[in-house]
Structures are given as structure tokens and as C-alpha cells.
Symmetry: C2
Subunit: 224 residues, 2 copies
């Protein structure tokens, strides 16, 4: 119970969330309440609650009397998520820019350097994506609006669930991304205007989206 201070419902929520973002549960997989309950050694009631919570975040699709499935990968859904993320990340970056300390700036440059080095080796999309989130999270250190920060995290979770991290499908996008990161840091260091930083950060994400969509359009020319 108080083993870790978490209710069983919370445990179930974390378990399934981790399962989805880690790829253990893949898009389209069914999430059967009783099975998960057995896995975790609890009854279905807390599991049910956890699943419904994930539904609110659009991580699972729930059909009455049928069951839950991990929300499927779908270019349209991907586009919705990326656009939303561009919006909230862009604004967050601009909002946090004046609050970024020199120390944080150094840390961010270090992370981006790690990313740059990754480009030379055998490219590892997973690791690259992880560093990418770390980079942006560092810039959001002193976020003045927790609601918006929460939306950023929800977007990231959703992307992880979709497994269509841009870098997985369009690795050629990675070098551009690193360059844009540096540009972003320069703007912040120079104390650029709010709207300038916002536009840069927003476009940073939108560029990734368009790279993926172009890629997808070429791969599936039939689907209009």
C-alpha cells in the first residue's frame, strides 16, 4: 500500500504509461484490464481507473464494452500532436528565455554537443530523441506556468507512444535540428525579443513535422 506512497491506481497508471512510452505496448495493442491486473497483482478496479486517465491524454483509445487499445500511429494524429507541441514548446521557450541562467545555458550547449557527436556514429534515434527532450527540458527549468509545462509533457508522452519520433523515420532531419538548437541558444543568450524566440522555437518543431510529412507523402504517394 504505502510501500512507495502510491495508490494501486497510481502504480497501474505509471506501469501502463511506461509500457506505452517505452514501446512495450505497441500502437494497436489491446490493453485487457484483467490481464494487466494479474500482472500487477491487483484487482481490475485500479487498472480501470488508470486506463481511463490515459484515455484523457489520448494515449489509449477506449471503446465501450469492448476495451482499450494503445492509440494507433496515424500521420494525421502525428500532425495534430506535433502542431500542438510546436505551439506550447515555442511559447514556453520564449517565456522561459529570460529565466535561463548562464549555468543552464552551458548545460544545454553540452547536451547539444552530445547530440552533434551522435551524428557521426551509427545513428541511434532513441538516444537522440532522449537527448533532445533533455535539451528542451533544461530550458524550461523555471517555467512560470505549470499548466503549459504540463501540456509539453503530455505532448512528449504522446509522441513517444506514437513511436513516430521524427528522427526514427527521417534521420536526415537530425543535423538540421542540432543547428537550430544552437541558433536557439544564441537567441536566448542575446536576450532576443519574445516573439523572435517563440517563432524560432515553434518553427524548430514545425520543421520536424514537415520533414516527416514530406517523407511520408513520398513513401505513400497513393494516399492523397
Amino acid at each position: 500500500m504505502t510501500l512507495n506512497g502510491l495508490s494501486k491506481a497510481d502504480q497501474a497508471h505509471q506501469h501502463v504509461l511506461k509500457g506505452i512510452t517505452s514501446g512495450q505496448y505497441k500502437p494497436g495493442d489491446r490493453l485487457v484490464l484483467s490481464s494487466i491486473a494479474n500482472e500487477l497483482g491487483m484487482s481490475v478496479v485500479p487498472v480501470r481507473e488508470a486506463i481511463r486517465r490515459l484515455q484523457t491524454d489520448n494515449l489509449v483509445t477506449f471503446e465501450r464494452n469492448v476495451g482499450a487499445t494503445v492509440t494507433g500511429i496515424d500521420p494525421i494524429e502525428y500532425q495534430y500532436t506535433m502542431e500542438t507541441l510546436a505551439l506550447v514548446e515555442g511559447y514556453s521557450t520564449a517565456l522561459c528565455a529570460p529565466l535561463v541562467t548562464a549555468q543552464t545555458l552551458t548545460k544545454a550547449r553540452g547536451i547539444n554537443q552530445q547530440m552533434r557527436e551522435l551524428l557521426n556514429e551509427e545513428f541511434a534515434p532513441e538516444l537522440f530523441t532522449e537527448l533532445n527532450e533533455k535539451f528542451h527540458l533544461a530550458l524550461f527549468e523555471h517555467h512560470p506556468n505549470p499548466h503549459i509545462l504540463d501540456l509539453v509533457h503530455r505532448g512528449w508522452n504522446r509522441l513517444a507512444a506514437l513511436r513516430s519520433t521524427t528522427f526514427t523515420f527521417v534521420p536526415s532531419r537530425a543535423p538540421d535540428s542540432v543547428v537550430e538548437h544552437d541558433e536557439l541558444l544564441d537567441l536566448i543568450a542575446d536576450g532576443a525579443e519574445f516573439l523572435v524566440i517563440e517563432a524560432a522555437a515553434r518553427n524548430h518543431r514545425l520543421n520536424a513535422m514537415h520533414a516527416y510529412l514530406d517523407h511520408h507523402a513520398k513513401a505513400n504517394p497513393k494516399s492523397f
Copy 2:
């Protein structure tokens, strides 16, 4: 059951949501599972699920082993919500602008005219707020990104819950709002640039926020 095609959990969700947005349940009110279950003639299980869903939307605050309360009114929370709303409403307005038909534009002008007429009579904040949402919703008719539209609705629900609709506390803001609406419509009709429309719509909301915060600072000079 299939009385209306809704599960009991959904019924409970709608009931409590309506109770909160309508003001029947006021901020700080306790939401006791068993009481609500009795009211609705069902067991606590569906009610519990409904409450947890509302928690995800920050409409209720849930404390372990203690219970749920309607999220309280708090200038900080208000600020968070308004800022988030400014962000998503502003972007939505710009995104939808090219899709707004002449017919919709006329409808929006009609709604704004109703609002203008309200200014002369005994001012009714509730009605004014309702028309205000109708106005903006009309502009979002063909919203290309349902995720973002969803965020707008969540923000509206939250504001309704907080009952600190700006117009209730700062009625003097209402005339400015009507003027800004007209300016917004002109921009849309003229096919103004994306960023111009976005900035106008965003500031429209932010102005309301600042009007309230100024008002509050004057009323409570001690709490900085």
C-alpha cells in the same frame, strides 16, 4: 443503461461537470463520492471514475484518502488558465481565419452586436460571458486541429469553474472586449497575416487577464 447510450460513469461525469461549470458546486466544495452516488442513484464506482477524469482537467483537486474538492479560486491559477487560453485561442484564431466563411463572419458580427447592446442595459456578466464563448466558437467552426480545440474547451470549462470570469469582476473590461472583437473580425475579413491575427487574438485574452490582475492587486494591496 442504454437509456441514453451513456454509461453511468459518463452520466456522472456530465453531471458533476455541469454542476461545477454552472456554479451549483462552488470552489472549495467537497465532492463526496457516496453523496453524489446517491443523488444519481448509482454506486460509487462510476462516480469515482468521473471525479478522477475531472481531476485530469484540473477541475477538481483530489487528496488521497481524504476526498475531492472543487478546485478553488486563486489568482495564480486564474493567471495560469488565462495565459494558456491566450496561447491556444490566439493560435486557433489565426489557424481558422482562412477557413472562416462570409456567413460565419456575419454570424460573429451579429453575436458581437448582441454583446454591444448588453453594455447599455443592466450588465449581466453571465450572459456576456456566454455570448463571448459563442463568438469565439463560431470562429473555430472548421478547426483543423481537434487537439488544440479541445484545449480551448478545457480552458473555458476551467474558467467557468473558477467563476472568475473576467467580466464578473471587472465589468469595465467589457466595452474594450467588444471593440477588440470587431478589430479581430476586420483582420480576418481582410485576410491579414497569420502572426498578426494570432497576436491580436492572444492579446485580446491577455488584456482581460491583466485587467483582472490589476483589479485584484488594487483590492488586495497587501498580498503582493
